[in-house]
Symmetry: C2
């Protein structure tokens, strides 16, 4: 039996396009002699469709699209992820399902048992968990067909009280197929390998694993679909960050020796590739081609511009240098050098006149009061107005350039530099932004060395440095990581050797700035705990604050 894995980039709710992609892949697989072609979780809708699942019209359209796909499945079978209606009047009205299409019809629908409902996942919001276990049969082979999380209940303290593979093993399957929408983070490919390895080693069955690929707003699906033999060895891995389609003969897989691990890739390389795909897909799927951003001469906007240039083409990245009375000569020079290195369009627009105008307008109210964060924010907001005006007039999407360290402690101006349609670096700590800059420069200097080595500054008052109000970034980032990614409390963080006052101050900053993060753009997610849909905090609270 020959099995094709179709790792495709679907567009949420775009049934026509998703259907066409699936039909084309079926045709290709057929031409390659496949008996079965497997698509990823909720392929027909794109993942995650979120509350569109509450619309009957949306469910009907999914169903019709799958029926149309089924009608071409002659001489080949297909497995397509789709939402299916729960016939039982009790329980949620939908299942997260895999339709087995064969001989021109939907022959069987298998439902997901374990519904992830943590971090970015909300599956129990929509779906009823499966409780009945059965196999799919094709050409005398019995397939244990599961959906994503179904094979992930392998921890020492498992999140679920059921284990679907244990149930399916009672029915004596010959192989495992898992269809997934497993989003990227820089540790996920390795974790995924461990989980697949655990399942194949435990159940002594080969496994065909198909993952979603492509970006869905903030969620980045890295693909990396995989075939494993019954001994936990990797037979093959599909592309990361790109669509792919490959056919495997089950006999070859059964006989293959395979390899013991997947290729190790550096954290910076992974983040780089993920962000480039994230930018590219965001623009493509929204029907835009051109980005605008404010280039300050600092490292965050420089890295954002370089990533955008790779994602969209340098000619499509419009860099606006917006010097204020406090901008330094070297910042302007550094920014211009970057623009030249990448041959990107750019302009210089001084904000001094607008700043003066606001100061005059506000003078009757502010007279006698000192220059403070208000005036810093005015400068950032004027930049926001200018960038948005250019965006509105010419159809750019504004890229946000804030990093995760700033977003965490609220070091940024709401409606100013926190603006944008998409936050590129909002899940990348400052120390990792530096690493990313080095990675971008791995072959030649793209980001001027001076941008990487000079002390970070917002340049919103004379001689300002980030370190005036924040600790050094290596300390800040470590404390933030322990609090945000690892959910450590103050006592545990202090026990790692950090100053008590500093820890308390930073955790307080994180918590009191929740109101700012509530209004920031979607953030491309590269860690296992990003701000946004994966981290849901009350704004009005009094905890460590």
């Amino acid at each position: 039996m020959k099995i094709a894995l179709a790792q495709l980039n679907f567009h949420i709710g775009n049934f026509d396009q998703n259907k066409e992609k699936i039909l084309k892949a079926i045709e290709q697989s057929k031409a390659l002699g496949a008996d079965l072609v497997v698509f990823s979780e909720l392929a027909i809708t794109g993942y995650p469709p979120r509350d569109f699942l509450e619309f009957d019209d949306f469910i009907d359209q999914s169903k019709h699209a799958v029926e149309e796909i089924a009608s071409v499945c002659t001489g080949i079978s297909a497995i397509v992820g789709m939402p299916a209606t729960n016939p039982n009047p009790k329980g949620k009205r939908l299942y997260n399902s895999a339709a087995f299409l064969s001989e021109g019809k939907v022959q069987k629908i298998i439902h997901k048992t374990l519904l992830p409902n943590y971090d970015i996942f909300d599956e129990y919001r929509y779906f009823e968990p499966n409780t009945v276990f059965e196999l799919v049969e094709l050409h005398d082979r019995k397939i244990a067909l599961t959906i994503c999380e179904d094979i992930w209940n392998v921890e020492k303290n498992p999140l679920y009280t059921v284990n679907p593979m244990e149930e399916l093993m009672k029915l004596n399957p010959d192989l495992m197929i898992n269809i997934a929408a497993s989003p990227f983070n820089y540790e996920q490919a390795e974790r995924r390998f461990q989980v697949l390895n655990h399942n194949t080693e435990k159940y002594h069955l080969p496994l065909f694993y198909v993952n979603h690929v492509g970006a869905q707003t903030e969620l980045l699906f890295d693909g990396g679909s995989m075939v494993m033999n019954a001994k936990g060895k990797v037979v093959d891995v599909l592309n990361y960050f790109k669509e792919d389609l490959k056919v495997y003969d089950l006999k070859d897989v059964e006989q293959s020796k395979g390899t013991s691990s997947i290729t190790k890739v550096s954290k910076s390389a992974l983040i780089h590739d993920a962000l480039v795909m994230g930018i590219r897909n965001y623009f493509q799927k929204l029907g835009f081609s051109k980005a605008i951003l404010g280039l300050s001469g600092g490292i965050d906007s420089a890295v954002t511009a370089a990533l955008a240039a790779e994602a969209l083409g340098a000619e499509n990245v419009y860099n606006v240098l917006l010097p204020s009375p406090f901008s330094t000569e070297h910042s302007l020079k550094d920014a211009k050098e970057l623009v030249q290195n990448l041959k990107m369009p750019s302009d210089v627009i001084s904000i001094s006149d607008a700043f003066e105008s606001f100061n005059e307008t506000l003078h009757p109210f502010f007279k006698g009061l000192l220059f403070d964060v208000t005036e810093e924010n005015i400068q950032a907001r004027i930049r926001g107005v200018i960038l948005m005006a250019l965006s509105n007039k010419f159809g750019y999407i504004l890229l946000n350039t804030s990093n995760k360290s700033e977003a965490a402690v609220g070091y940024g101006t709401l409606y100013g530099d926190m603006n944008g349609g998409l936050s590129v670096l909002g899940d990348v700590y400052k120390t990792d932004v530096f690493e990313l800059a080095r990675y971008i420069n791995r072959n030649k200097e793209i980001i001027p060395e001076n941008i990487i080595t000079k002390p970070p500054s917002a340049e919103l008052r004379p001689d300002q440095k980030d370190s005036d109000s924040l600790p050094e970034y290596d300390i800040l980032d470590r404390i933030l990581y322990l609090y945000i990614e690892k959910r450590k409390g103050p006592a545990e963080i202090i026990a790692e050797g950090y100053d008590q006052q500093l820890v308390n101050r930073i955790l307080k900053l994180v918590n009191i700035n929740e109101y700012k993060r509530y209004q920031t753009p979607p953030i491309l997610r590269v860690s296992d705990k990003a701000f946004g849909m994966g981290r849901r905090m009350p704004i009005v609270a009094k905890y460590l604050s």
Copy 2:
């Protein structure tokens, strides 16, 4: 046996304050001769604590606070909502629980069975559902103690396959107690009554129901705790929108005839009271006292100002009139009249100079191009900069004045009039804003009649009217309601008699403007489907768009 219901306004994560409130209520109840005092769901943490529940430190603090409360429970018992640790290594690590405190100790912990995970609820994100059923005994009375959703599985197509009260009835309880955090919407008090009535009629037991009261950012808890006799009649209802504590003798309740319904209150009155509480608590709990808003002379900002004046005191609501070259004389006049009616502080700050300054700055880039939405947005954004500058300098919270109709179709400027710490009317359709204005004027004219009767306009270009680009609000709002609240598809809406092109255009506007709503302030929720945490949509999608 005497039972006290303590309906209190808790502050999320503010363990010291929540504990003090509970201790004080225990003392009061004791003084009133109560044998048992009942607090609402997750009383010790405030509801909803969201991802703070993932922090061990947060769970430990809850536990210690409840233990301290238990230590004073001598001569009286108490039921306190708290998160409890799941001792089973399988499943989620917490339960949503009710601790029964008696004789100085935590005697028993009862867990919630039905975990709401729809709309604004995320309980399965944190909690394992209960599967073991037991009663609580006090003074020879057996109590069926349940938590909120546990008694709500009464629909024809129930959301859950289990019914906890059916299980508890097998143990022959004498009465029911339900502790809840049931958020307000303008239909919720009636629905809640129906559910309580259903349970008491079905199980022939009296029911003591304690609800949370107070606002938690966008969620408004209206209280309305209730005592019902075994025949489904209402014995008493506690305050709506206010803290309350009352003691009931079980014998009196058993003998009471009660009434068949709760008092009907108009939709506008409910929305009014809810919004006033929402504004007030948002400020109190964040430690602010003063609001700022841009007063345009239109109805949305007028209603927002009137509500804020009631919530915070008129002297704490600073109204800034920000005329542009396109503002009309009558708008300024109407706005000033409102300010005078309520004796609120105000200033007039022209945005003309700043507008001119931006036009000059942008002239090299825009020359030869027509005035379009860009220039409209610049005006709105200048207002945003000025309001935020005043807010930053003097410590105001900016109130957002957008209504639900605008938010739905994207009729507003991101980083402009969509700014604010809190959206007051973001869940109130324009037609309901008019009703609300009439309600505010029920005793005397507060909002000038002209503001209510003139045609709505953004006044961002000469002679602009909302109806230039939008249908009349009664039509628009009805289509939006069917799509947003009722999740109807285009065919169903058209079948109600609306023009096909218009329906398609409006649904498309709603969907393509998801990116704007992603960045708006938290919206006080008054309907059963508000924008924000209760409606989760993909930004990048292609469905009806």
